[in-house]
Amino acid sequence: MVDVLKKSIWVFHLNSGSCNGCDIEVLDVFTPRPDFERFGVKLVPSPRHADAIALTGPITRAMVPKVVEAIKALPEPKIVLAIGACACGGGIWHDTYVVVGGIDEFYKILKEEYGMDPPTTIYIPGCPAKPEALIYAAGILADIIKQKQRRREDVIREEDEEKRKIETIIREEIGSRHFLPKIIVKRGPREGSV
């Protein structure tokens, strides 16, 4: 996914107010059965040594400056793994009075108050995220697996293209005076996408 990362990915684990569910799953993937270290992934004690931050939790207000510090310390290219429903979108806490509400809301603060661009982010849903999901994310990160999910702008662009194609076909059919146009929509590449 990121060209620079051809070899082992080192991860710094950052708990931003999580319930521990995702955190023990993050630890769990380093133990014998899932064995993350097969893929070269390793937990490191400092963001300065890491390639990616494994972020769990909905980001509480008290944690904002600390998360910013950690992201600043991360070397380029910065990668964030948003693990669990809370990190992805705030989860059940998304609108309470002391919670920022997920990584996207946090990126807004990052942009407005600290003037930083959001880093590359991989969203790993689940409550808590399962070890299988974490391994899948690591696979995407290391470019072992192709990403099944598409970016929103890609989906919108493809949909527009498709619409245009259909419109063209309809217009041509009308032009040739066949009143029941036969429309074939090819959904090939997006079939099975989430």
């Binding site: 319930c19 919670v99 808590p128």
Partner: protein
């Protein structure tokens, strides 16, 4: 039982509700201190305190002090009311030390002033929270965003020792917490804990947005390790408040899952402790064995953790013969493998030397601080909610409560080791004796302003939930209290006089679960006034100067 009632009546308390599980006692402001003292002398110890804004009901604020009286197998709830224009209640902290945090917390979230409190400082809420805004008052919306105020950080140095910050991110802590350890050379002379990073506004969320059937799921997300016990604790509190009888089969299924959770939590703890001691092989073995328990949880509930199995009135899914067999098979393997692991580890002198006679918590201190669970049982106190206040199916089952007198990390280790095998024995009994029948009571009425208390023995100790119901399937006030809340103040006692290298193992030995504790937040300052916040770099720079 008669004795405790006599004590209450002699000290001007009025028993309003008498339940099998708890007594609700109303007492006036003048008499609360005397009554609390009398109850403490009669053997009750402080469990938790809850402030509540009851202005929509009668224009008063109320403070509930919950005391645990093991002798009569009852919780005693003292209710003190104060009118809105005169928000003052005498503090009972001078009489019972354990009330300290609960009263400071009630002041933070509601603005009740406790007269005569020894340290009336801010306890919870973020540092940048403005003064005079009280989030748990009913006129504050749960999703209101308050503009932060910038605050200058106070730096006070300590003359005789080096201040060593541990956290909020530290390789040995997998949660954001902050310990300040004062060292003189290699020896620890003091310690201070600062939390609040995981405060997520849970109680307000439950009152504001959720209904009585949604709260079990948010209760489960208090903690990802021991979440199910919070779920059951909440359900029991509501069931006690509305007087609901749960079907027997549901009680057995609850017990089964509570014990599965205890096994997974304890094995997890062993892994973490081996890791903290630098014995990573043990960590890997413990967590390898734990996967079998996680698999049985997945078979029984559909998820590895965060089971989502209970509602008020019962459980959501039944279990069948196939699941039974698979669980038993997995647990037999776990039992054998854990036995082997424990034998191997305790035969290693290196490990034994690191945990024996380290982190001493004497029995009398343990009692006065009011520690719970394996920490108390490792200091020779025989306490277990499963025996003292029987709930779910524990009243039908046979089990032992392991107690060790060593008062050190090794004793707490051995208590947990024995508990794993007791839990496996309990599960075998549950699966053997489980009766048939319904698993859920579908229809029930929820009365308004009915008070309930629920308690469970979480893997880390006594877990207490307090609920006031409301009309329209809502909850008026809900207050969970996690075991780590009671256990944390013992950490500075354990750390004093020990080597710095032992600090992670000692902190780990109480099995701290900060996300449980921090839904409300605490600051413990054993040394009184020192406040230092900054990086290790700053500390070193200042030392050089």
């Amino acid at each position: 039982m008669q004795d405790i009632k006599r004590v209450i009546e002699e000290n001007n308390g009025k028993i309003v509700v008498e339940h099998d599980y708890f007594l609700l006692v109303e007492v006036s402001r003048e008499h609360v201190r005397k009554l609390a003292r009398a109850l403490f002398e009669a053997g009750a110890y402080y469990s938790t305190g809850v402030g509540s804004d009851e202005r929509p009901k009668n224009g008063f604020f109320a403070m509930y002090h919950i005391l645990n009286h093991e002798e009569s197998k009852k919780y005693i709830v003292l209710k003190v009311e104060t009118p809105e224009h005169d928000l003052r209640i005498p503090s009972i902290t001078p009489e019972i030390e354990g009330a300290n945090w609960a009263e400071r917390e009630a002041h933070d979230v509601l603005g009740i002033v406790f007269e005569g409190h020894p340290e009336p400082e801010r306890l919870i809420l973020p540092d940048d929270w403005p003064e005079g805004v009280y989030p748990l008052r009913k006129d504050f919306k749960y999703n209101e965003k308050v503009k932060p105020v910038r605050k200058e950080e106070k730096f006070v140095e300590r003359e005789d020792a080096l201040v060593l910050p541990l956290g909020p991110f530290h390789p040995t802590l997998h949660e954001p917490e902050y310990f300040e350890i004062y060292v003189d050379g290699e020896t620890i002379v003091g310690a201070r804990y600062k939390g609040f990073f995981v405060h997520r506004g849970l109680e307000k969320l439950a009152e504001g947005r959720l209904t009585i059937h949604q709260i079990p799921f948010v209760a489960e997300r208090i903690c990802g390790i021991c979440g199910y016990t919070h779920m059951i604790c909440y359900c029991q509190a509501v069931e006690n408040a509305i007087g609901l009888e749960v079907p027997e089969r549901a009680e057995y299924i609850r017990t089964l899952l509570l014990e599965i959770e205890r096994i997974h939590s304890h094995i997890l703890w062993f892994g973490v402790v081996y890791h903290l001691l630098g014995f990573d092989t043990g960590f890997m073995h413990a967590w390898r064995i734990r996967e079998k328990v996680m698999d049985s949880a997945e078979i029984l509930t559909g998820n590895r953790k965060t089971y989502g199995m209970s509602l008020v009135g019962g459980v959501r899914r039944d279990i069948d013969e196939d699941k039974k067999e698979k669980t038993l098979k997995a647990l037999r393997e776990v039992s054998q493998e854990m036995k082997n692991l424990f034998d191997d580890v305790l035969a290693m002198k290196e490990i034994l030397n690191r945990i024996e006679d380290v982190g001493i918590l004497p029995k009398d201190r343990a009692r006065s601080i009011g520690v719970v669970g394996p920490v108390a049982r490792g200091s020779g106190i025989n306490t277990d909610v499963r025996k003292d206040h029987p709930y779910a199916a524990y009243k039908y089952l046979d089990f032992k409560v392991p107690v060790y007198n060593g008062c050190d990390v090794l004793s707490r280790y051995l208590v947990r080791a024995d508990e794993i095998f007791e839990s496996i024995y309990l599960i075998e009994q549950v699966l053997d004796q489980m009766p048939g029948g319904d698993i859920m009571v579908e229809r029930f009425e929820v009365p308004e302003f009915s008070v309930g208390v629920g308690a469970t023995e979480a893997p880390r100790g006594e877990d207490v939930h307090f609920v006031i119901t409301h009309r329209g399937s809502k909850v008026y006030r809900w207050r969970p209290r996690a075991p780590t809340y009671n256990n944390l103040p013992s950490v500075p006692v354990m750390l004093e006089g020990e080597h710095l290298a032992d600090a992670p193992a000692i902190i780990g030995s109480i099995d701290p679960c900060f996300s449980c504790t921090d839904h409300v937040t605490i600051v413990d300052d054993s040394t009184g006034k020192i406040l230092f916040r900054g990086s290790l770099e700053d500390a070193i720079r200042r030392l050089k100067r």
